[in-house]
Symmetry: C2
Subunit: 572 residues, 2 copies
């Protein structure tokens, strides 16, 4: 290519060199006849200067922001240097200037800071993506993807593609469907994950598979969900839980080093699901800070009050320097606890040697002293059942950590949550559901057979800074165990045959032990770039109502397209 | 992992070592009490021997083909060595043997050669893929993908993802549609290519984009088409045709070197569309062999016969050593010519100094002599109009090259076909169509305006061994030219606004000159692995009637899924 430099490259070493640059005009000023143009490309900005008398002066006068130009010029030293720019020591005196493309005034400002409405940003996504901060999200996404992939390839994994036009499955309620033209009335389904395909790769003997796979879920969207999302899908044969976890640790350590130059500690902590719920009140603990949930059942269950009597769990969080929290603020926290299914938020605080709070009247001096409160501390207590106590204190813990700045910045703490139950029981429907999915191996098939409620899974989630970024398991590789699992889930022989027949068949012909994991790429990129909005790391995202604001999709289609599909639309 | 070696690794250097192997049993024999098992993994085969008296002997007796086992054993020298195997010098005397998984007799034989019906192979794809030849196709596909990607990354390209849930476009007749649940009656469409998205990336300033992109086309399938296919989608800003071509040459040269250790010559030949049609009778010439089409119009148009009178093109192919072709065979070739729209196939051959053939009676001695035929040569002649003469002789050329073994093996000849017309005119519909797509830049917008029939495109196809493996162009980056193009194609203002409104808008805000190309990955893999069947290089392909034989997709779905989408199915 004819251009000699990117717009972040020139410095005092290039003075007097002739250069050829191109890019977008980020700023233009006319200072007493001297025209200054900031020329931007994906790498940075170079200041151009056009002097009166230059034969391209009139052309330069026409240039406005976001015009695309190319220039030839000479690097000269800048009078007033700008230490904040890579190229701040120099400017380029323009000798030739060609306008490649003009621009109307863009509807959003092309700068890191924006006050444009999200709707406007999405409608003009191609301009929103021109903002350097957005370009950086995409570039980081690219770098993260390459780093993850290269580690997997080094480890002997094959990148193999699986179909997007697949088959609807029993979890199919949230499948996107694609009507077939050749078989009217029949439908393909877009995959919620390549789960079955990757297991088939193991049966086919590929041993180590991965894919940066697009997945689809027609769910009512939450802030951090998109109808289509990308997962790093991984599967390997002849492995156990430890093998998979060690592999993923290697992938994450290398990726953080390459992309962020951050050293992540490994091996990651392993914590049981139960311990996570006990100490952090969530199955995805943020272990960047302490503020653990402690058990106060023994102390408080002795207190004769309806608040505590008959409560099997009475747990709490002890916060330093929380003595100044106002009554109003504590009411706010109380509302948060209730929103998260906690029965009540009680508290005791110590200030100038005196303990005050909502339950002092119920307690003896001795009981209060047994808490060993230190001046400035506040103790929050929630009584109730295990799950409600855990989830409400889990939410409170996060809220307090944010409010009291307990979360260290630029810190990345991974952990594995292990020791999951295999099944969940729905009292309402009187049936079991798979906690992960029906292909997850039980630790002991005998327990699954005889006491399904107690069955544990060979499953593991990977959690980073309080976000679940992936999950996986060792799979069932034995046809009888798979059958037992389907039976336990209450699937009829017909359903199994109709939906999974080929897969149960496949297990008959020499299926190796295997397992794997899927990483949520969008979320990994989000955490690594420090944005809270998943849309920032997806080039062309949909709104929370699954709409593409730029293209205006979904949209109506020609009637004859529907005729060909033999489909009719409308309230039925 | 606990396994010490793959099954292709052990040789005489490992003798007496203790090893730990795993894999599938490819063969099992009982020779006078000695049990021999061939243990297969994705890398190769190791022979195991289990001696009578071994405590695992009874277990080993149970092992059948395709069982998955793991063994511990000692490497020993083999008595009768097998020079055809990497591990042919040794065998492993088994000390411990564990059956990890049993297998019923598989419905297809797991070996390179198969006589299984394609339907059976597709139904049991997970077993078909276990055949080493099929594993090799997938591994090569992986290697090719990595090689292409790494070159693009080295060249500064960003790998960026684009949506699968997009919008139906005017070429939309072949779009797969996805009904929206949140907006009943509206549809997403699966992309036929990420064309518009990649141009938007250029407008957004990313400058260099690529993606290994899944594309979808609901066409009536041909042997080398699949409803979903993968393309290496590439776009760059501030480039011209030459820049894109040079980049792709670099990608292909490096990929062939890395994956096949083949040195491909570059730069590739550039040939105009017109020359390709003249000399090869096709827009995707196979230049591995000569056998060019020559012009005989001057000689034959003088012959007073209805065969030649008024025919504007009389062209032919001169074949050495074709004198022995039987009358019957020539009739067969004649049928081929007619099938490819040729009016008639005429011929002259010289044998023992005598010229014979279908038109000797029409010609003077002098006319025949002017052809300068050499003994053994046969000259095939087709008279008619340009396109019919070209296409029929093009087909004849390929047929003869195959029959006379003129195509050198393991040779890869690339070329660029350039100099394309921008538009095609449909006499029937009295309107123009874009020869490539409506975003392709004209060489000269003035010609497009004043004489569209003569407008040439900045387009290029890349051809390998007679197959088009990719195509691209420099795009229109000027809003007025894009408008002119749409006008010429007869799109109304409303259509443009409804379908492309956002894109025409986008062109207003500083669009850099840009262009790119898309490579058909499936076809590249096909050619590089030497298979003629595209299904061989797709892990889970569909049949020619777009059916997944293994999963039985497309399939019926639950009525309540359709209710939620407010869709009704059936003849209307």
């Amino acid at each position: 290519m004819k251009y000699t430099h990117h717009n972040n490259e020139l410095n005092h070493q290039h003075i007097n060199q002739e250069v050829y640059l191109k890019g977008w005009v980020a700023k233009n000023r006319n200072l007493g006849g001297l025209l200054f143009l900031d020329l931007r490309d994906r790498f940075g900005i170079t200041q151009l200067v056009v002097k009166p008398g230059n034969q391209f002066y009139d052309t330069a006068l026409k240039v406005k922001n976001e015009f695309v130009i190319e220039v030839k010029g000479t690097v000269i030293e800048r009078e007033s240097k700008n230490k904040n720019m890579n190229t701040g020591d120099i400017e380029v005196e323009v000798k030739e200037l060609v306008i490649l493309s003009s621009s109307e005034t863009p509807p959003i400002i092309i700068a890191n800071e924006t006050d444009a409405l999200e709707e406007t940003r999405l409608k003009y996504r191609y301009l929103d993506l021109r903002r350097p901060v957005m370009q950086n999200y995409m570039v980081k996404r690219h770098e993260i993807t390459q780093a993850i992939r290269s580690t997997l390839v080094e480890e002997g994994f094959y990148e193999l593609e699986t179909p997007i036009l697949g088959k609807s499955t029993p979890e199919g309620a949230r499948d996107y469907l694609v009507p077939s033209r050749l078989y009217p009335g029949s439908f393909y389904a877009l995959p919620q994950s390549p789960q079955i395909y990757k297991q088939l790769f193991m049966i086919a003997g590929f041993e180590k598979y991965f894919q940066i796979a697009r997945c689809f879920r027609d769910e009512d969207l939450r802030a951090d969900r998109q109808p289509e999302f990308t997962q790093v899908d991984i599967e390997a044969s002849f492995v156990n839980e430890e093998d998979v976890q060690t592999l993923i640790e290697k992938v994450m350590v290398k990726t953080f080093k390459k992309v962020l130059n951050v050293d992540v500690e490994s091996p990651f902590i392993r914590m049981s699901f139960h311990e996570a719920m006990e100490k952090y009140g969530t199955d995805k603990p943020d272990i960047r800070y302490e503020l653990l949930i402690n058990d106060y059942t023994k102390i408080f269950q002795k207190i004769e009050s309806p608040l505590f009597i008959g409560k099997s769990y009475i747990k709490g969080i002890l916060l330093d320097n929380g003595g100044h929290l106002s009554r109003k603020r504590i009411d706010g926290l109380s509302a948060l606890v209730k929103k998260n299914h906690g029965e009540a938020l009680l508290y005791l605080k110590k200030s100038d040697g005196v303990i005050s709070g909502s339950i002092t009247k119920l307690m003896t001096e001795e009981q209060m002293n047994s808490l060993n409160l230190v001046d400035g501390q506040i103790l929050f207590i929630v009584p109730g059942e295990f799950e409600n106590v855990a989830s409400s204190l889990g939410a409170l813990r996060i809220e307090l950590a944010n409010e009291f700045n307990l979360i260290p910045e630029n810190t990345y703490k991974f952990l594995w949550v292990v020791g999951w139950p295999l099944l969940e029981y729905s009292e309402e429907e009187q049936r079991y559901y798979a906690k992960h999915h029906p292909f997850t191996a039980p630790v002991d098939p005998e327990v699954l057979k005889n006491n399904p409620k107690k069955a544990m899974a060979k499953a593991y989630d990977i959690v980073l800074n309080g976000y679940e970024i992936g999950g996986g398991s060792i799979r069932i590789h034995n046809q009888n165990v798979q059958q037992l699992m389907f039976d336990t889930l209450g699937l009829s022989k017909e359903e199994i045959k109709h939906r999974f027949g080929f897969f149960v068949d496949a297990l008959k012909y020499g299926t190796p032990p295997h397992g794997g994991l899927a990483l949520g790429l969008d979320r990994v990129v989000m955490l690594m770039t420090g944005t809270a909005n998943i849309k920032d790391v997806v080039a062309f995202p949909k709104t929370q109502s699954a709409k593409d604001m730029m293209m205006q999709a979904p949209s109506d289609v020609d009637a004859n397209q529907l005729d060909e599909l033999q489909i009719k639309v409308g309230k039925i």
